[in-house]
């Protein structure tokens, strides 16, 4: 098991420690997870899958709660435009 995982966030490669969640990859990439209904940048609030602020699209599936998903190599993570 590699100690570092590389995945892409909005097309840019990001490296995190093995076991880190996708929310961490977003933080390391310096990106907010989503834009709210009125366009505010948002990131994780609760950290435990309750608040839904950490949602991103992972491998084409929208609305994934990134704080509960462990990074896998070559994951393609995207935020809304």
């Amino acid at each position: 098991m590699p100690s570092e995982i590389t995945l892409t966030v909005n097309g840019v490669a990001v490296s995190v420690s093995a076991g880190a969640t996708v929310a961490i990859a977003m933080a390391v990439a310096g990106q907010a997870c989503r834009n709210s209904v009125t366009g505010e940048a948002r990131g994780p609030l609760c950290g435990i899958g309750i608040c839904f602020e950490c949602r991103v699209a992972i491998n084409g599936r929208a609305h994934c709660r990134s704080c509960q998903i462990v990074c896998q190599p070559s994951m393609d993570v995207r935020t809304d435009e």
Binding site: V37, R61, A62, H63
Partner: protein, 376 residues
Amino acid sequence: MQSATYDVVIIGSGIVGAACADEFTRRGMKVAIVERAVVGGGATAAGMGHIVVMDDSEAQFALTRYSQQLWQALRTELSDDVEYEQCGTIWVASDEEEMAEVLRKHEYYGERAVPTEVLDAKALHSFEPNLRSGMAGGLLVPEDVVIYPPCAARFLVERAQKRGAVIDLGRSIQEIGLRQVRFSDGSVLQADKIVNAAGAWAAELTPGVEIKKRKGHLVITDRYPGFLRHQLVELGYLKSAHSVTSDSVAFNVQPRRTGQILIGSSRQYGAEHKEVDRDILTHMLQRAQEYMPGIGPMSAVRTWTGFRAATTDKLPLIGPWPGDASLFLATGHEGLGITTSLATAKILVDQITGVKPEIPIEPYLPSRTAKESAHA
């Protein structure tokens, strides 16, 4: 409030009661609205919020088309939270038999100056790429609209209030009739006229009114902007709405302005409890997935139920209740309450004020059912 006499007391502030309040006050009458729960509750809060023309019968067409045009005229005045969206409806034909129905509707609406467009399979797919392949085609009705009904009801009630209508919230009624609304706490409102716009509960207030609750289920997804552009309805919907005895589901989806997908529809007779019936829900969603496989992986955020007010002949009850000169009905709109609310109010107030209504009112008169039961 208790010692005054109102020109009209309207029972219920769902979309129909709200529209009536708006129209009565517009014509200068002193109005009270009695609402036991919330403005825009009941089926108004639960339903799909579509404004559609329907051609089940001439009477249904006349009422829906008239009312749709009233909504069109109102659109610029509506507040933004009413979310008036002219997304149009596409009636989807899955085979050649349903395509024949498409052609029939096209001709029917064409004769009545309702613009529609026949879509072949290719055109349908370009309009709605997320419909599964293999559909025969469809009928686009571009003037159909989607709104957010609770805010529409509130908008209409507020307009009525600006003209002096008062609203009594949170009390339950013991009985209505003979120029009185009697509350459970014993107090009484006097009124020249009383309008029963209590929807699925109309028969509880006016015994003998033949209204049955027709339960529906809905599911709303998270936001998937661009997935769906028009309201989509399967032509089998008509078979479902036609059935008067059995439970049924039909494919009916709607894009909300938020990008959420609203998924229906179901009809059940005899179900009185509000809880979600999982059997019905699963069938409804299976049906929806058959038409749009792409909704399978979507995140469903909420499910809920509501009760439509269904009559025996699929037309609403709008007009005087025989045997009580003060009592009128504006109820029984089944799945067309939002659509026909404005026209309901117009023709009801026309009847009461002696103005000639824009459309013939005989098909909607409550006396039609009373006559039948008198002969039973």
